[in-house]
Symmetry: D2
Subunit: 340 residues, 4 copies
């Protein structure tokens, strides 16, 4: 941590800060500058926040952190990439580029089972589908809850595809875990720390979505919540951030893929459906994701988007999904990855 003193800070201020740094267990190194002095505080910063409080001390202008605040998520700590096992024979973060697909919400037996069969045939390796839906409006469809989970399980039975589904309430973690192969944390819950802590105690892979105004650093801190509770199977998902641009539902931060790949060993996938909000943009964004080095995708596919209870406009029809997957396979190959 670097502590920048004010231009006119008194000598006694400098001494107080120096003393305080020692008190907190760090070693102070003063650099006497031309217009102001700065103090480097040497010591393991991670897991300690106390140095930040120096900012309130007399004569201090600014406190600048040097190290990242996450540890277990950091590639510095674990240089080799993590391969997260979903089920035996299916891993995210390794050689395979993995696609999860399915409807936004589970609506009925036919809808979810037909979609499951179709996406499997096109090459998807996981089935997605929401049984608990966090909706902006209390008047919107809120999901089929446990009935939806049962239908997902039925679709898994039929197709063999493991299922990924969202959990929104710490109370439901146990129930959802009874059905799901991968527990999804949605963008509105990226910083729902109570939920993250419970998921950290689970023996299931977690798909953690980035919040729409979560920085990459905060995103990795949220992953750290899960990791620090003992669950090391975390998959990160970039799904668009909120910006001033309204042509798309969100702005896909595609450069988050290589940035995350540099900073963390965790796998990174892309959700082109929520990122763009338009079915016609899913294919180009999926190709871009593969080219940028992502480990996979999670895509919304609905047999009849105009009848969907939610997110119809951003869902692909099964036929279009098939066409996309065929082209995607070529991009994935150039990216030195494989697809089923």
């Amino acid at each position: 941590m670097i502590i920048v003193m004010q231009k006119d800070a008194a000598k006694s201020d400098l001494e107080s800060v120096e003393k305080k740094i020692i008190e907190l267990g760090y070693q102070p190194h003063i650099i006497y500058g031309e217009t102001r002095n700065v103090i480097g505080a040497v010591g393991e910063e991670r897991g300690k926040e106390k140095l930040q409080t120096l900012q309130s001390m007399s004569g201090v202008e600014n406190v600048v952190p040097i190290l990242k605040a996450y540890k277990l998520a950091s590639r510095e700590v674990q240089p080799q990439s993590s391969e997260v096992e979903i089920v035996p024979g299916l891993t995210i973060g390794g050689k395979e580029f993995v696609v999860a697909a399915g409807p936004c919400a589970v609506e009925d037996r036919d809808q979810i089972c037909d979609t499951a069969v179709a996406v499997k045939q096109a090459g998807a390796r996981l089935l997605r589908g929401g049984a608990y839906k966090p909706r902006t409006s209390p008047y919107s469809f809120q999901g089929m809850e446990e009935d939806g989970l049962k239908l997902l399980a039925e679709a898994r039975e039929i197709t063999g595809l493991p299922i990924v589904t969202e959990v929104v309430n710490p109370r439901d973690v146990e129930l959802v875990a009874r059905y799901a192969d991968v527990m999804q944390v949605g963008a509105r819950n990226t910083q729902n720390f109570a939920l993250l802590k419970m998921l950290g105690q689970l023996d299931k892979p977690i798909l953690l979505k980035r919040g729409m105004s979560t920085t990459i650093q905060e995103f990795l801190m949220s992953a750290e919540y899960i990791l620090s509770e003992g669950n090391r199977r975390v998959i990160l998902c970039e799904r668009g951030i909120r910006t001033f641009e309204t042509a798309t539902r969100n702005t896909l931060d595609i450069s988050a893929v290589p940035v995350l790949k540099q900073q963390t060993h965790l796998p990174v996938i892309i959700d082109p459906s929520h990122a763009t909000g338009h079915a016609s943009l899913i294919a180009p964004m999926s190709y871009a994701a593969a080219a940028a080095g992502a480990d996979g995708l999670i895509v919304e596919v609905h047999p009849c988007p105009e009848k969907a209870t939610s997110d119809g406009p951003q869902s692909l029809r099964p036929d279009d999904f098939q066409v996309m997957m065929d082209k995607l396979r070529e991009f994935v190959k150039v990216a030195d990855r494989e697809m089923a």
Copy 2:
């Protein structure tokens, strides 16, 4: 809802959309334009989302909502302003400009009790203090939990100030409600719908903070979640939004005050501490809030900011708080409001 057809949409597309609109219970009115046709769908839109699905139909370019999606929160539905009773004799949203103050987190008995006495003396009408802290890092202090609630209750005993404190987990709602006079929903939980629904069933006022990337429309939809469950005592709090500017922790959206006042009957207060992140900016932003028409403030005050376990840099010392309150009283008077 207005449905805009594509320039080259077929006559059969137009007819299908028309038919679908009728099916969904609305009346279609076609306007034949020079380059494209638009259809107005007449009917009560609120509580229905289905028209949005028309976007996936062939020939449809865009679907433009006309009405706001919230109802109970709307000033159109309830023209007179709501006055939310906190405890007998204390109301937010009426003539009085109400200030809540206290530390970010409850740390120990002396800290919270001394602060309570100091802020009461300066004119605060509520004591704030966090017992459950949603922290970005799992390694940061997470709050004293129930012990903190007990200390808050003790401070209330001493000063008579009702207490406002945050709840972060639906599981803790009942426990927190046993101690708190006002239940606070923090910015990270503005769209934690599971939590909002539970709070909607409570007979306690709720202080709902705006999320850092929540639009005003979404913010009011979150209020609607609470209102639609039966709890009408909702107080809105603007606490800064996330923008590109880094000179402040967030950007205080001061114009949200009059915008909210136009769109909703609910009271609106400002949190200048989280909005700015710097103690030196709290006073000017508090004055601005009063001048802009806010109903109150929630401010961080700590007896010794450099020892605070969290948010020290954005906490006022009791002396500075006293000075600010004295000046604030003058602005409040010009704004035709009163302060204790």
Copy 3:
């Protein structure tokens, strides 16, 4: 244009708006709704802004535009994609994926000529280099001006590569045009309409960069300024937008590529250097651009980034550029395009 009346608008308000719509040369169509009325104003909206003024009339709640405000840039008006000829034999927007490369700023003869030779060999088809540099600080290097243009011309002589260089002042348009093959408008000048108008009168292709807070709609309006003056050779360039994320210099809005491709016939290229600000992110973003359907790239290459007068950290070394180009060629092929 759709005019939404207030819930309690008087009958006379509705009539006044109706009358005004006729006055302005449109045909009004009233839709009587359950809670409020809306009026559709039929007529060619483009090129007229007057209907927006209805917003100030009594009883009007909102005015919602239906048509896009640009015309010449619109794919609706010109369905086939534009191929912009740079020099005979080199076209952007056709089958070829075109890469422009070179240093941020021209610094000296060796620097620009060596770079030109290197990027040509790697497959670049244009040489980029700034002679006029818009710098945030008045104390930063402002460019070599005409001397820089002369060195660019020399590098062109040696390599045969046409040159693209920025013009920042309407006063310099004529001078820069004497040397440049493509005139670049930088992100800070996207809405410098005086400059755009002058460039619209030129017989040279224009590379128009998106401003860092320019919406796609505004970006196309800026293109419209050039097109409407008669110059149809406009190339659009997405170079990152400003968001809350600080891990990258800007946030590359990769979905702008397919969105622009839907809305306009103009070619679209990507600047991965300014978008990210880090050399290590250029290659993955270049691959993503090709996969997303872009028509080309403009990339910063510097023989010795640590000695660059500007933007060193986001410049590739010639060797790394060569490696990237070789991989890029494979992605371009899968995207059904060709590269030299």
Copy 4:
């Protein structure tokens, strides 16, 4: 400047950076840390950018600036606040809270002269009006140009109010300066450095608006462009920044007022019209500006907003302006300032 080395940086990397720092004229101070080393480079950083290039050197992780890049604009360099004289007897930045008012664009003789008389009577001290209008659409009214300037001069003759008007093209600086008392730089030209440099050579006060995505640091660097050319009469104007929120045209960054007041000695005013885009929000934002410590306002007033060629919806009618000014006077007084 602090140079943070990578965790695994070689000893030779550290030595190379050290050597380079000396070469550039600074003194290196190495702090050996537990996980990585950092180097403080001591010396006057301002006016030098070269240290930033260290980022491209082998083994360097990050380069963190300690000092602000502006000098003449800095309150550190000039502690006392600048009072900018407009005309003899009228100063911005002193005891008086100064209001400029008038229409967005000059449209005809009656419009500008009537407005001038009305705003003067209500207490405005400057007349605003645009003769050159930077419009997003090439099809919108672009201003009356010199004819507009002449009408402004006539209105000044009648009322005695000095005039503030925008210049958008370096070519027009001389012409506009012949008429204007204050030269305005609009939000789209905040980083039009060619224009800023010319204005820096003028003997006229400059009203510099913040761009919609300009950080406070960049804003002060733009002021520095003018100051460094010799013109010390710069007035800063916050007019809203671009965010995700669409309820207002822009988001008024009210905390920019006290932040700027801390960082610079230059006067700061607020433009509530462009910041909000709605006439009904102008009064509360004006009161907030006064309460937050601004030195004045620039407000749009139009005798008949529904006939305005631009920005009608955000213009006050003269009557409403009068009402606002009367209330504003009270807030200004509490803020220890005076109004005519």
